[in-house]
């Protein structure tokens, strides 16, 4: 991996992105995002549908490759840079490098994406064994502990199909935690859950917040974002429209669009 360490990047940021853009065909979804994440920060990314918030998250662990811009993980730029024909830099993203990034930046999906042919324990052990190469006994011990932490010690041998949505999402969180990620990304973790199951997942995420983990969360649950976040980013049309503390964004938004968005989310009560 090419390491470009400039003065600006020797700061304490664990994850940064600069002028990050992403297009799907002719559709420009992200239009130059600059974001710096310090260790221990909890950032909630909010915005309407189509604002690019999920895409931003997915670019940070390279589930999507950015069209341009750079992502810097712990001081090291992701990707390999060569000078292009026209003098502009050309970046390639070898899968091997991206795999290393994803080991360090965990992700929890809206649809859980658990492996249906493995038990809860199997799901959590899988990355430890087949990615990190840990011995099975050690992986089992670790996975058991992680499942206990999310309150599923009783469900080790249960297959995902027999778990509720909330339980499935907690297994998915345990699966991500087991990899000891430096940053954890949540992509609308409660959006596909029945309302009565949302609470258990949110409580699990809040418990992680108390441990001081670095987390980024895309969510529609503004009330939860308020309690969760040390910083809130309001994304509009592919750019960061406004950012600030939860207090600033929710109680005292400065810009019209932000204000309108907060007001429109009528279910939001602080």
């Amino acid at each position: 991996m090419t390491t470009v360490a400039t003065a600006a990047e020797t700061d304490t940021a664990i994850l940064r992105c600069e002028r990050l853009s992403k297009s799907f065909g002719t559709l420009e979804v992200l239009k130059g995002i600059d974001l710096t994440v310090a260790p221990g920060e909890r950032i909630a990314i909010i915005g309407g549908s189509g604002s690019g918030k999920s895409t931003l998250l997915r670019c940070l662990n390279f589930m999507e490759k950015p069209t341009s811009g750079r992502v810097i993980l712990d001081g090291a730029r992701v990707g390999r840079v060569r000078p292009g024909r026209d003098g502009r830099e050309q970046v390639s993203y070898p899968e091997r490098d991206l795999m290393a990034v994803r080991r360090r930046v965990g992700m929890v999906f809206q649809q859980f994406n658990l492996f249906p042919h493995m038990t809860a324990l199997g799901n959590v052990m899988e990355g430890l064994v087949s990615v990190l190469g840990r011995p099975r006994a050690e992986a089992r011990e670790r996975a058991t502990a992680e499942l206990g932490r999310v309150g599923l010690a009783e469900k080790l041998d249960t297959y995902p199909a027999r778990l509720s949505g909330g339980q499935q999402q907690r297994v998915a969180i345990a699966r991500a935690l087991a990899m000891d990620p430096e940053v954890l990304l949540f992509d609308e973790p409660t959006s596909s859950l029945d309302p009565e199951l949302v609470g258990e997942v949110l409580r699990t995420i809040l418990a992680l917040a108390e441990e001081g983990r670095t987390m980024l969360l895309v969510t529609h649950e503004l009330g939860f974002a308020y309690r969760f976040a040390t910083r809130v980013i309001y994304l509009f049309d592919g750019v960061i429209h406004e950012e600030g503390t939860a207090e600033q964004i929710f109680r005292n938004p400065q810009r019209d669009k932000t204000r309108a968005f907060i007001a429109r989310s009528s279910e939001f009560s602080l």
Binding site: M63, R103, N113, E126, V131, L132, A172
Partner: protein, 221 residues
Amino acid sequence: MGYQFDVSLVWRTLPVLWRGVVVSVELWAACLVVGLALGLLVALARLSPLRPLRVLGRAFVEFFRNIPALIQLIWFFYAFPILIGAQMTPFTAAVLGISLNTAAFSAEIYRAGIQSIERGQWEGARAIGMSRATSLRRVILPQVFRRMLPAFTNRAVEVGKVTSLASVLSVQELMYQGRILSSTFYRPLEIFTTVGLVYLVMIYPLTWTSGLLERRMARTT
């Protein structure tokens, strides 16, 4: 109709037919193992991001599916040795022909299976740092095998039937033994009826299993 069906002949020929059954089963197993392994490679070629590989995979499948298996066997026994300048036993030629045929058909099963797995499964695997190869091996293929089990079982039934074509190359499997016995005893009715029943006993359990799997899957999904 004054014909007397000679049951004792059936009993007398069973040991010979049994020898044929053994060869048929060997052929069946060899072709399934080679064919299913090769079929996976062909399916991966067809799903490859590289266009030349995709075209090659497609050509392989179309070619082997659109030509009668009999010609594939004849070609590998009579024509292929000329091309490579080396002789080949009938059994080897039969394994080659039937395996490639099986590979073409099973490649389509793998392909349909892989394409039926939700994108989220690939993403879930990638998100914990798995390579494409590891994702395929640990996450995608186990689900494909499960989901496509009835289709694979059906293919196994077809392969079992196709092995009978090896008799044309004088591989001493069940059909061949039947033909020899029939012309030895001049009793085609007894012999070919018995051969048919033996095939039925050999193949039916698998068809039955396939039906059972299909019904069970229809219930769970």
